[in-house]
């Protein structure tokens, strides 16, 4: 019978990152001096803004492709769609829906490209997808900075650079600002709860749970556990991995549109460059690892990571007298948590491999003794 005893050491080891963040937040919150209502409002806003984007990371993890740094590609597709929608002057929720539809072909195309390359770089997916995002960022800049307005028609001078081609540094999305968040919003303890955005997030969560139980979802889990075993079982490994990246890219595109409608403006050339790193950091803060992540990790991660983000500048100012220290602190924590998670994953993998090697050697030794 399986013994179900609680091991504190194991628990602390497995949840070291969230525990560390809970400690950081519990120190910083009183120092920052924000009211609970303000913190609640900020956290709820950031949950609505970021959760969809982070959920897009779950499917590649399920397929054993690690943290999809290539989600930036989806973010770029979402931004291109938003530029077109802003130029077409489609406002409000219809504008958001249209942007999502327009982003799909771009996301699929970029996802296919990324997936094909990642299939050629098995075992090195994360670093490869990270570099692909830089490569596609260059292509994005070429298209947005030189082709839009020159080859791709853009009518409005408010979007175009004064030279007549290229898109301005900031595109205003005022016409659709928070239209998703304000629809069906209610106020609880002074915090605005964007019910429609949360309903979309809930649907997405249910979709992921349902997807895990489908044939494709099961295939992805099998591929994630062991590619060779999955191949022997008749699963088309390459196709399954490709689909997981395409789905992730499309969802990242949708997530970016939800994120930017909340912000109300789009930093054309830099919005997407930060997004992948922050989403991955938030997911890892929630207790996810390179090979295992759940919806719970997403929610916990967003709450802890963003809580730290909100309180760090003020807490930094109180401790050191300089708010920039807090700003730097939250940036290096973002990078640090990713590094820590990657190192821990690698250590765990090596330990498991060494353990298996020792077990195999012991078994061989036993067999040798039996034969003697």
């Amino acid at each position: 019978m399986k013994k179900n005893s609680f091991n504190l050491g194991e628990f602390l080891k497995n949840n070291s990152v969230p525990i560390m963040f809970i400690v950081i937040c519990s120190i910083c919150i009183p120092l920052a001096g924000y009211s609970p209502a303000y913190l609640l409002n900020e956290i709820v806003t950031r949950m609505g803004r970021n959760i969809f984007l982070i959920l897009s990371l779950l499917i590649p993890i399920m397929a054993g492709m690690g943290l999809n740094f290539g989600m930036t590609l989806g973010a770029m597709a979402g931004e291109i769609a938003l530029i077109f929608v802003a130029d077409l002057q489609i406002w409000g929720i219809p504008g958001i829906v249209l942007a999502m539809i327009i982003s799909i072909p771009f996301s699929v195309m970029l996802g296919l490209l990324c997936g094909k390359i990642l299939n050629m770089a098995k075992g090195r997916e994360m670093v490869t997808s990270y570099i692909i995002s830089y490569f596609i960022n260059g292509v994005y800049q070429l298209v947005v900075l030189y082709m839009m307005g020159a080859l791709i028609p853009i009518a409005h001078s408010t979007i175009k650079l004064p030279r007549g081609y290229g898109i301005r540094n900031t595109v205003s999305l005022l016409s659709m600002r928070q239209s998703l968040d304000n629809a069906l919003a209610i106020r609880v303890f002074g915090a605005k709860i964007p019910l429609l955005t949360f309903a979309i997030i809930a649907l997405m969560c249910l979709g992921i749970i349902w997807f895990r139980r489908t044939k494709l979802g099961q295939d992805m889990r099998a591929v994630g556990q062991d590619m060779e075993v999955a191949r022997d079982a008749g699963i088309n490994v390459e196709r399954t991995r490709l689909i997981s990246i395409v789905i992730s890219t499309v969802l990242a595109g949708f997530g970016m549109i939800i994120y930017l409608q909340n912000m109300g403006n789009m930093s054309t050339y830099s919005s997407h460059t930060q997004i992948g790193m922050f989403c991955i950091a938030a997911l890892l803060v929630g207790g996810a690892s390179v090979d295992k992540a759940s919806i719970g990790n997403v929610f916990l991660g967003v709450i802890l990571f963003h809580l730290m983000f909100i309180v760090a500048p003020n807490a930094g100012a109180k401790i050191t007298g300089d708010s920039m220290i807090g700003e730097y602190f939250r940036v290096f924590v973002s990078y640090g948590v990713i590094t820590l998670a990657l190192v821990m994953y690698e250590v765990k993998k090596r330990r498991a491999k060494a353990g298996m090697g020792r077990q195999l050697a012991a078994e061989q030794q036993m067999e040798g003794k039996n034969e003697d």
Binding site: R46, N50, L88, Q89, I90, W91, G92, I93, P94, G95, V97, L98, I101, I102, I104, Q141, L145, H156, S157, L161, P162, R163, G166, R168, N169, S175, Y269, S270, T273, Q274, I275, M277, F278, H306, F309, E327, V331, S334, Y335
Partner: protein
């Protein structure tokens, strides 16, 4: 060699999904088109006649007052969709009676900014007379002061 079988059902589903998305996109293009409507209370001189500005007009859109216009004044409202319904509360003379009229105007899809001349509209003139396109003044050509990619390093700072 293994050949893939053409599965008509799968292809029908795929084509159906694409068509559905295209249909939704088309609907969004129509119902989500944003316009800025400018209400002019200015004297309009055309070949068909002269329409004098009115002393005071209050414009209500969706039960909300968007402009209170004296003669030679302009107000504006933003709207989504292909038509706008507004209420005009008119006072032609000082201390005179107020009359209220409601209009629903179809808005041309191609125009972002639309000027509605209220005196001509109240005189019952056709669309060509009271409706015109608002063309913003061209921006003065200035030296580019925007910081474009490559001119500055992009790093992880700021809000998320």
């Amino acid at each position: 060699m293994k050949t893939k079988k053409f599965n008509a059902r799968i292809w029908a589903c795929r084509i159906g999904a694409v068509l559905l998305l295209l249909a939704i996109a088309a609907v969004m293009l129509v119902i989500g088109r944003g316009h800025t409507v400018y209400f002019d209370n200015k004297t309009l001189e055309t070949e068909s006649g002269t329409y004098e500005a009115i002393r005071k007009i209050t414009v209500n859109v969706g039960g909300e007052r968007v402009a209170k216009l004296g003669a030679k004044e302009r107000g504006m409202a933003t709207t989504i969709g292909q038509s706008i319904t507004f209420e005009l509360v008119i006072q032609r003379e000082k201390n005179g009676d107020e009359e209220t009229v409601e209009y629903t105007l179809k808005l041309p899809y191609s125009m972002d900014g639309i000027i509605v001349n209220l005196p001509a509209l109240l005189e019952g003139q056709p669309e060509e007379v009271y409706l015109s396109e608002f063309i913003p003044a061209p921006e003065p050509v200035t030296e580019e002061d925007e910081e474009l990619p490559g001119e500055d390093e992009m790093d992880m700072v700021g809000d998320i």
